[in-house]
Amino acid sequence: MADIYQDDIGNEIEKQFTLSVLTEDLPGLLNSVTIIFTRRKLNIDMINVSASEVPGVSRYTIVCTTTRSQVEKVIKQIRKHVDVLGAFVYEEHETHYQEIALYKVPTDIFFEGMKVENIVRANNARILVIEKDYIVIEKTGHKEETQKLLETLQPFGVLEFVRSGRVSISKSKRKTESFIEELENSKTHSLNTNGKLEYGKN
């Protein structure tokens, strides 16, 4: 049987996965999430944490390259953390995502004809800041696109380059707020035995 997660001889294939994690906004939680990767010696390719549209709830976007079976174990262990509201794994085609890149270049390269300006236009990038000594160019896109612009600019002398972690949004129509409401109202917080709610034996 063909298995898209295995190569011809049955070895598992590594792929890039995007993990989307919703958590309570608490200090130290980032550490709790990342040590789950550390423990398995899994490198995190990109990570972004920011406030979600729901007050008090953070959204993590974590990108890592590993096998399907490994990422599934990781996501379950993330989900298991007491302060994690939800955790989901996506492959590239299952999410909408972007990264932002900033390029600091010397101002004088813009004075040598239209070359650099045309590059900026052709790449749908924009000029963010103009200073006497340098100009900051901004480009939003997938890694291949921001990387391409970097390589194009490099011959002109790039002073500094930075790329953000991925931010991703799922293709699901569900509202985050209603997902959290479901969590609040679920009957999974305590055990119902013989019509009596209880947990533990104390």
């Binding site: 174990k73 379950k76 305590s190 035995t193 533990g200 034996k201 104390n202």
Partner: protein, 576 residues
């Protein structure tokens, strides 16, 4: 909104102005705590000062090392099913707890550890006895939280107890800065019954129950494996009902041993590396494997790629992260074991599988001839560990709680002790923590005053926490300690013999006089070197009113068999 305001006003009127440290004690009382194991120090002194005023309600046991406090809390939790509590100070006090916390995490034991911490404004400054225990504890706790304001104390404790004992239990660490202990708050307490991000009891999927029942009903060779989860959810009666109704042989993991009586006709034994012969080889012959409250530890599965490949696997497990982690399941029932089994029992047909059960019995005969006979009724001059356990069975008759340390003696005691009642087996399974038994036995005895508690410990592990003899002496905790002394780190030595061509690299021990040490602590002690006095000595120990140490000099180079060599298939279990 109006009701909310009213409610909080009502609370305010009832609220009592107290210090943070008193609020901690009051919160613990609200959770029904009457026993604490701990060790004071600079950063937790306000808490100990408050505790001083509540000695009539809470009994505090001063251990001799914080690791002992954590293990004692574990022993207490494991026999009582209640949350064990321990206190330690900041810095070294807190780091000394970590081994016990890690042990509680991997063996799903509900404990709440309270540590003192330097005052909040000194956090991160390398203050005296400051350690970042929150970060250190993160990978080994179910939840950890740092309290820096007095008002957070009731909230933190309420959450700590709810998290520690619900779902798959585990350790919680609450780190309280000294200023939060000495500051004041209006105390009111509300138990935690819900955390929106935490769902410890997944709902039962009735379709999965039906699928599982169908597999069991069609099975020719069904096989039931029970683990610690059965005890944690109190499902031992349901396991019995399921096994008896469907006629399924039952084997147990190390931590699940007391979940099913040893002498039950369907009990076929103990799983894993040093488990019984039949339970291991039959794993690769059964057609339906029903695993309840266990996590397919590598000491159980051996090579997991050669484990039960022929079988349909049903996994009943409360922790979703354990499902499909090691062994792929055909039917996963992610639920509390007791609830799931109650449903499953209704759907399975009454059945018997006598010839299948007989296959296990045939294996037992082989194991008896090749291993057990020599262990229990040895003819050589030196005493064997197995015969000591056999004689313990004669006096204890399953009524005592068995606490074991880690190593050869642990495997031998687990193989041969006859369990009758749930939660009478306390050991360090997942972490394999040498030094666990003495403090855990202490905690178990404090929690279970109506049963004898027998600690079986090797000479290596005994010396790792030997200082707890001081605690046992101070509080006259009547534990019975059997040290099986072979002057070796026996299990490591066994591996060196079998897999490293007898290069006994640093496994031989020159031991002190354990009897003199016990006597120094005013604990009655006896050494047995000869078989002739063994039976009477065990009887004397068991009948003695108070703590007792019995040192038995056992065969120096005894090996534990059967054995599934590390990383090998369970089929390749060796009998010699």
């Amino acid at each position: 909104m109006a009701t909310l305001t009213q409610k909080s006003k009502m609370k305010e009127s009832k609220a009592k102005r107290v210090s943070g440290s008193e609020a901690l004690i009051l919160s613990l009382l609200e959770e029904g705590v009457d026993t604490i194991f701990g060790y004071p120090g600079g950063a937790i002194m306000p808490v100990y000062d408050s505790l001083y005023h509540y000695q009539d309600k809470i009994k505090h046991y001063l251990v001799r090392h914080e690791q002992g406090a954590a293990h004692a809390a574990q022993g207490y939790a494991r026999v009582t099913g209640q949350v064990g509590v321990c206190f330690a100070t900041s810095g070294p006090g807190a780091t000394n707890l970590i081994t016990g916390i890690a042990d509680a995490q991997i063996d799903s034991t509900p404990i709440v550890c309270v540590t003192g911490q330097v005052v909040a404004h000194l956090l991160g400054t390398d203050a005296f006895q400051e350690s970042d225990v929150l970060s250190i504890s993160m990978p080994v706790t179910k939840w950890s939280f740092q309290v820096t304001k007095s008002e957070e104390i009731p909230y933190a404790i309420a959450r700590a107890f709810y998290i520690a004992k619900s779902g798959r239990p585990g350790p919680v660490l609450i780190d309280i800065t000294k200023n939060a202990q000495s500051g004041e708050l209006d105390f009111s307490y509300e138990k935690c019954e819900k955390i929106r991000s935490y769902h410890p009891y997944p709902p039962i999927d009735s379709r999965k129950i039906e699928e599982a029942a169908e597999l069991i009903n069609k099975a020719k060779k069904p096989y039931l494996l029970v683990g610690h989860g059965v005890l944690l959810s109190g499902a031992q009666e349901e396991v019995k009902q399921l096994a008896e109704k469907a006629g399924i042989p039952v084997a147990s993991t190390l931590l699940g041993l007391s979940a099913f009586p040893t002498d039950h006709p369907l009990n076929v034994g103990y799983l894993g590396m040093h488990g019984n012969y039949g339970p291991n080889v039959k794993t690769n012959e059964c057609d339906v494997l029903v695993a309840v409250g266990m996590r397919f530890d590598d000491r159980v599965t051996g090579d997991s790629s050669k484990y039960a490949k022929q079988a349909k696997v049903i996994h009943i497990e409360i922790d979703h992260a354990e499902i499909d982690k090691i062994i792929k399941t055909n039917v996963a029932i992610n639920a509390d074991a007791k609830q799931a089994l109650q449903e499953l029992i209704k759907s399975v047909n009454s059945n018997t599988h006598n010839s299948w059960v007989q296959e296990f019995r045939d294996c037992d005969k082989i194991e008896f001839e090749k291993v057990i006979k020599k262990d229990l009724y040895p003819e050589g001059e030196q005493i064997k560990m197995g015969e000591v356990v056999r004689l313990v069975n004669e006096v204890a008759d399953g009524e005592a709680v068995l606490v074991t340390d880690v190593g050869q003696h642990q495997m031998i005691a687990s193989r041969y002790y006859k369990f009758k009642y749930p939660n009478t087996n306390i050991t360090s399974g997942g972490l394999g923590t040498m030094g666990f038994a003495l403090p855990a036995a202490m905690g178990a005895k404090v929690g279970e005053k109506n049963r004898q508690v027998i600690a079986v410990i090797g000479d290596g592990g005994f010396q790792m926490t030997i200082q707890e003899l001081g605690t046992i002496f101070q509080y006259k905790i009547p534990v019975k300690i059997i040290v099986l002394n072979n002057n070796f780190l026996g299990m490591v030595r066994q591996w060196q013999q079998l897999f490293f061509e007898r290069r006994y690299s640093f496994t031989e021990m020159t031991n002190p006089d354990f009897i003199k040490i016990a006597e120094g602590y005013h604990i009655t002690a006896k050494r047995i070197t000869d078989r002739s006095g063994l039976k009477d000595a065990i009887g004397e120990m068991y009948a003695f009113d108070g703590p007792y140490l019995l040192e038995v000099k056992v065969e120096t180079e005894e090996n534990v068999f059967p054995m599934v060599p590390s990383g090998d298939s369970v089929t390749n279990i060796r009998l010699s």
